[in-house]
Structures are given as C-alpha cells and as structure tokens.
C-alpha cells in the first residue's frame, strides 16, 4: 500500500509523529483529566500503544486488514467536471467513501480493535454520532471476534437510523442515550460511564482525535494513512503538492488523517470546515473555531475549545450533519489553529445542501453530509483560486446514510410520498 523502501511503521510514524506529542499536550490543549478509576485503563493503553508503535508486525497486520479487507488504497479522483464547473482550481477528491463501510472511520476502528485484541480485551465499546464510527466498530469487532456495544444519542438515532439497523445486524448492541442534547457528546459521556465499570474486559474505541491522552495520538496514527496515500497520489498525478487540502471537522479524525502528511509542507494550506448549521449568531451551529465562540475548558477528559457558557456548562450544538455535531474539537487542531497552521472556516446547512446538489450532478459522487461540508468550504473559497491551484478535498464518507435527511433538506415530494406508502404497507401488515 505504501511505496518506497520505508517500512509501514516508518511511513505511518513519520506522518503522525510530525504532530503527535508523547506528553499529550498540544500547545495549550490536550492532557488527561480523567477520574481516578480510569487511571489503570489509561496506563494500560499508553503502555500497549507505546509497544505497538514500535511493532512492525502489528502495522503489517493492520495494513493487511486495510488493504485486503477495507479495500485500501482509496483513489484520489480528479473531479474534472467539478473543476470545469467552477473554472478555477483543479479539484481532486480523496475517496474515503470507498473504504468498506463507507467512511474513513474503519481505518481507526480496525486499528483500535486490533489493539484491543492485543491487550486481551474481549469487548469494545464506542460512541457514534452519524453512525459511521459505530458501524465501523461493529464491523471490526465482528471481523476480529470481539463483542461490541455502541452508544448513540437518541436524536442521532432518529437522524441516522439506517446505521442503527446495520450496527444491530452486525451483532452490536446499540444503546440510546436519552439525556442532554441526545447527540455525540452525550454518547461519549455514556461510553465513559460504561468504561469505568468495564475496563478490565473492555476497550473504548474512541472514534475521533479527541478525548484524554493518548486517544488523539492513537486516532491520528490510525488515520495517517489517508494523507500518506493522498500525498503519494497527488505527486504521481501532478508532480507537485496541492495548494490546499480541505476536510470537515467534527472531532477532527478525518481532518488530521489527511492533514498529517502535508503538515511539514508549509506552502500547502490546510483548511478545516466546521458545521455552520444555521449560521453565525444563530446559536444553532457547531463552529467552535470558525465562529470564534469556542472557549478553552476541560470536559470529557481533555482540554480544548468547547462551546460553553460563562459557567462552563456545555452548550447544545446543532448541525444537519450528525457527525459534526460535537461541542469540542481535537486538541491537536485547536493548537494548529492557534499556530496559524490550519485555517478554520464553516459551511452552513444551506450551503451544504447546495454543494451536495452540485457534486452529485457534476461528478456523480454522493458524499456524506459531513464530508459535503469540506466541499462547501472549498466552493466558498474557489473564486479566490486560479487554474494553477490544486485543491484536495477529503471525502470522508459516502452519503447513502443521509437519504432521509437529504430528501427532507431538498423537500423531495416523491420521496416523501414513497415513505408514506411504505408506512401504510407496514401498518396494514401489522393489522
């Protein structure tokens, strides 16, 4: 999968180590603010992660799974029709949607479930927002022979029920979280509550590059493959690096995945696109950095920028895309933003739905609503670019899961009529 004379571990660690810190601090952010009961669990993970970081056999096994099971490398598709549509920068799309289970999430889930197995665990737990991380964890657990429990906010279950269906069919237990905003942050809290009771047998497969140290580092390592491939692919296709790399940012795993390999190249602009929801000033968004409303704080085991009130209580977030609807952000990205290495912007729901229609009709691609934020961010910037620029957009996942939300967003009357017919069929059958 990775070319050249370097070993798999050397390639991954070279990309990840540019950003990942052994002490778990990224400028003012990161750390490990955990209840005492989790100290042994974190000590165990740190020890095993340090060991596997040096274990070439582990990385070979991991990369074999990525290649032979998940289907990597994913292509870097030249979006010629989209490029023509705007008539500015050349647009390339990194196709994480073509991973097995349809998103970049499987890279991390396979890595962490493999790590869990090495630690002797028999069960994994995970939180999920859009459901992709839940599906990926359930899939990896099925493949590697562990049991899985997935926590998901009730609100997100309603928005992403197709993924709930798949998680259950894959053998996972799915537990609805019925408090707070019933979204991703609440699912994380509930997974942590499970973990403080179960860490002896259970590994918590955190889905994004957030949480207490060493989770941001672990997830960065397992997602580094995205950028490693993209860099090789763009050099092969164009003979030079891109001008900009765009990725959507919820917790930050796909963004860090694609950014890491480009991070040392200062002339490549890295752009994180947050969920603008109903726009700045609406109070209904998840743009912690782009709207300047995130404030440093400690919650869920780590220090980062959170959307919170003056008393430190977390605010409710909102996005059309369940996977971006998170109150905090990766401490690594918070630091990169402060150091000016990643530029943050936001795309509103309206811009995302418009972008989705353009992408579908010009390229025949159906990105997830989360990933569509990255496209919308790039489209918002494209007038400032020229034909000599190259954009890479990380398409972190595919949009099949979003059919209900998209149909609703597009006010598709035919779809609504179909749903009504199906509902009547089920009701009649139940009588």
């Amino acid at each position: 999968m990775m070319s050249g004379h370097k070993t798999v571990f050397q390639t991954i660690s070279a990309a990840a180590e540019a950003l990942v810190k052994d002490d778990g601090y990224y400028g003012n952010y990161g750390g490990s603010f955990i209840p005492e009961i989790l100290v042994p669990a974190f000590a165990e993970i740190k020890e095993h992660f340090a060991a596997i970081k040096q274990d070439e056999a582990f990385w070979q096994e991991y990369c074999s799974l990525l290649a032979d099971y998940s289907g990597r490398p994913t292509p870097l598709t030249y979006a010629d029709r989209l490029t023509d549509y705007f008539g500015r920068a050349k647009i390339y799309v990194k196709r994480e949607d073509l991973n097995h289970t349809g998103a970049h999430k499987l890279n991390n889930a396979l890595g962490q479930v493999l790590l869990a197995k090495k630690m002797g665990k028999t069960r994994v737990i995970a939180e999920t927002g859009a459901g992709q991380h839940g599906v990926a964890t359930a899939t990896a657990a099925a493949k590697l022979g562990l049991t899985a429990t997935i926590y998901m906010g009730r609100e997100d279950m309603e928005r992403q029920y197709s993924n709930v269906f798949w998680m259950k069919r894959l053998g996972a237990e799915v537990i609805a979280v019925d408090y707070g905003s019933r979204t991703l942050k609440d699912a994380i809290n509930e997974a942590l509550r499970d973990w403080v009771s179960s860490f002896e047998t259970t590994h918590y497969v955190l889905g994004t590059a957030s949480g207490a140290h060493p989770f941001p580092a672990i997830v960065s390592y397992f997602q580094a493959v995205i950028g490693i491939e993209a860099k090789e692919q763009i050099l092969r296709a164009e003979g030079r690096l891109p001008s900009r790399v765009y990725a959507c940012v919820g917790g930050g795993s796909n963004a860090l995945g694609v950014f890491q390999a480009f991070y040392p190249h200062g002339d490549v602009e890295l752009v994180g696109v947050e969920a603008g929801g109903e726009g700045q000033g609406s109070g209904r968004h998840a743009a912690r950095i782009a709207y300047g409303e995130g404030k440093a704080g400690v919650a869920q085991g780590f220090k980062t920028l959170f959307l919170q009130n003056n008393d430190g209580q977390m605010k409710d977030t909102y996005s059309l895309a369940a996977g971006l609807d998170y109150v905090g952000v990766s401490p690594i990205l918070a630091d990169l933003s402060e150091r000016g290495r990643v530029r943050f912007t936001a795309a509103t729901d309206t811009e995302v739905v418009e972008a989705l229609e353009i992408i579908m009709k010009t390229e025949g691609l159906i990105p997830a609503l989360e990933s569509t934020h990255a496209f919308a961010g790039a489209f918002n910037d494209i007038t400032e670019s020229s034909g000599s620029d190259i954009f890479i957009i990380n398409m972190s996942g595919r949009g099949d899961k979003d059919i209900f939300n998209v149909a609703e967003g597009l006010q598709d009357d035919e779809w609504k009529a179909f749903i009504r017919r199906k509902a009547r069929q089920f009701e009649n059958a139940a009588r």
Partner: protein, 273 residues
C-alpha cells in the same frame, strides 16, 4: 457575591478547625461519621436547605454540596438526571456559592465541602474559586476530573487558601500511586469502594475490607468510603474500618420517592443516635 462579613475567614462554630481534625476529633463518640450529599438547585434550593437542616438534626457531620455540571462523567443515572434538571432550571455557579454561604452560616454544626467538575472551577477562575470557597468556609473540594498531576494550579490554590483538595482512590489504584495520592490529598482520602459511577449498589465484603485495610496502611489522613452505600447494614459494615461513610445517591432516591419525611426516617436508620 460574598457579602463581606466572612472574608476574614472568621466563621461560626468549629469550622475553622481543619477538616482532618474535625474528623478525628469528633466529640460525638460515634463509631463512624456520615457525609451526606446534595446536588445544588435540585429539585430546588429550598429543598436543599431543608435537607441540610435534616442532616444537622440527624447527626451527620459533613455535607458534600455538588455544583451541577453538564457533563458529569463520574456520576450515575440518578445524579446525572439531577445535574441536568438543576441546570435546566437555571442554576448558576454564583447561586451555588451564595447558597453555600448561607448554609455554612446557618448550620455551624456541619462541615461543608464542594464537589464539582474541573471546568466549573476553571471558568470561574481557579484562584478566584478557591478563594471564594475559603471565604465562605467551604473546607474541602472534591473535583474528580482534576487529575492531580494535571492540576497543579488548582492544588496549589487549595494549599495557599487553606481549602483541602480531596483526592479519590479506588481498589484499582496501585500501592505506589496510593502513596502519592495520600501525600497530596488534603483532609481525607475518598475511597471509591468499587469501579463504576455513583449510585450502583456495592457489595460490601472481604474485598472492600481488604481495600480499606490497604489504604489504611498507607494513608496519612483519615479515610472516607463512598459509592454504593445504600443501607444501615452497609454503614455498620464500615464502622471501625474507616472514618467516614459517604451516602449520596440513596439519599436523593429516598427524597424523590418518599419526600423529606422519608429522608428523615432514612437518616435515623443510618446515623447512630
């Protein structure tokens, strides 16, 4: 916020006595002391006040006042709901501090501690928060996610202002770490009797006893045991083994199911006359 009358640190009753002295120097002769718990603003501050009155009347000596937080990761379902409900009704840090000042003044027989999460302290300002606690007469702070190695500023502010940072140990804490935590805790060591969050029943038996014995052999402070104490039998089990039994969730459950009179009856069963 503080009306100024207590800023000198002069407080009524014997609360000027350091926490550890209060525990070991109990004049009551009770074989074990009781620490109760309240989530401030839940169900409302008036009920909090009446509960604290019952605590004093029943002979409890220590009260843990929890400032609610939106992400209480160490709390079980009963406290989780109470945290959320309190915040939904508009509870603020300022209100909690004002309430605490009132009860410290009105109930001099009790020692008060705050329990909360680190972000509440950080957003108030670590130094300012600890100073406010000292001014009110709050004797200890239990902040489960202020991991001591990461919270030097908080630990230092506590030391400087004479407010005890109470650290938690668990059956899974290594003996080496126990030595460290015992050295840096203030007042007492809070022993969580089992893994998990608050509120689930603990099976008190040989394992608990072995854990307490291990802590006792290392700790340089009094020790308190909490998590899952639900009945007078649990309290009797702990008598002679630790200094304080901490009862939280069960009191709230009784309040929710049987009201204040139920709490009064319950307290009578667990606190020796």
């Amino acid at each position: 916020m503080m009306n100024g009358k207590h800023l000198s640190g002069e407080k009524p009753g014997n609360s000027k006595m350091r926490l550890a002295e209060r525990i070991t120097g109990s004049p009551s002769g009770q074989p074990i002391q009781i620490m109760t718990h309240q989530i401030l603003g839940y169900p409302d501050f008036d009920t909090n006040y009446e509960m604290i009155r019952l605590f004093q009347e029943s002979g409890a000596r220590f009260v843990e006042l929890q400032l609610p937080f939106s992400e209480p990761i160490a709390d079980g379902p009963v406290f989780l709901h109470a945290n959320q409900a309190s915040l939904a009704s508009g509870t603020t840090t300022k209100q909690c501090l004002e309430f605490a000042e009132r009860v410290v003044t009105d109930f001099p027989g009790l020692s008060f501690l705050f329990m909360t999460y680190y972000n509440v302290v950080i957003q108030y300002g670590i130094e300012e928060f600890v100073k406010a606690c000292a001014a009110i007469g709050i004797q200890g702070l239990i902040v489960p996610d202020a991991y001591p190695e990461e919270s030097q500023e908080f630990m230092e502010a506590c030391r400087q202002n004479g407010v005890e940072p109470i650290l938690i140990v668990t059956p899974y804490t290594s003996s080496e770490r126990l030595v460290y935590l015992s050295a840096v805790t203030g007042g007492f060591l809070y022993c969580a009797a089992r893994k998990g969050v608050t509120g689930t029943k603990t099976s008190f038996g040989k394992e608990t006893e072995a854990f307490i014995t291990r802590v006792r052999s290392i700790a340089r402070t009094p020790i308190a045991v909490g998590f899952g104490i639900q009945s007078d039998q649990d309290v009797r089990f702990l008598e002679g083994k630790c200094d304080i039994a901490i009862i939280g969730t069960q009191i709230l459950t009784v309040l929710e199911q049987e009201g204040l009179s139920g709490v009064k009856r319950f307290l009578k069963t667990i606190i020796p006359a």
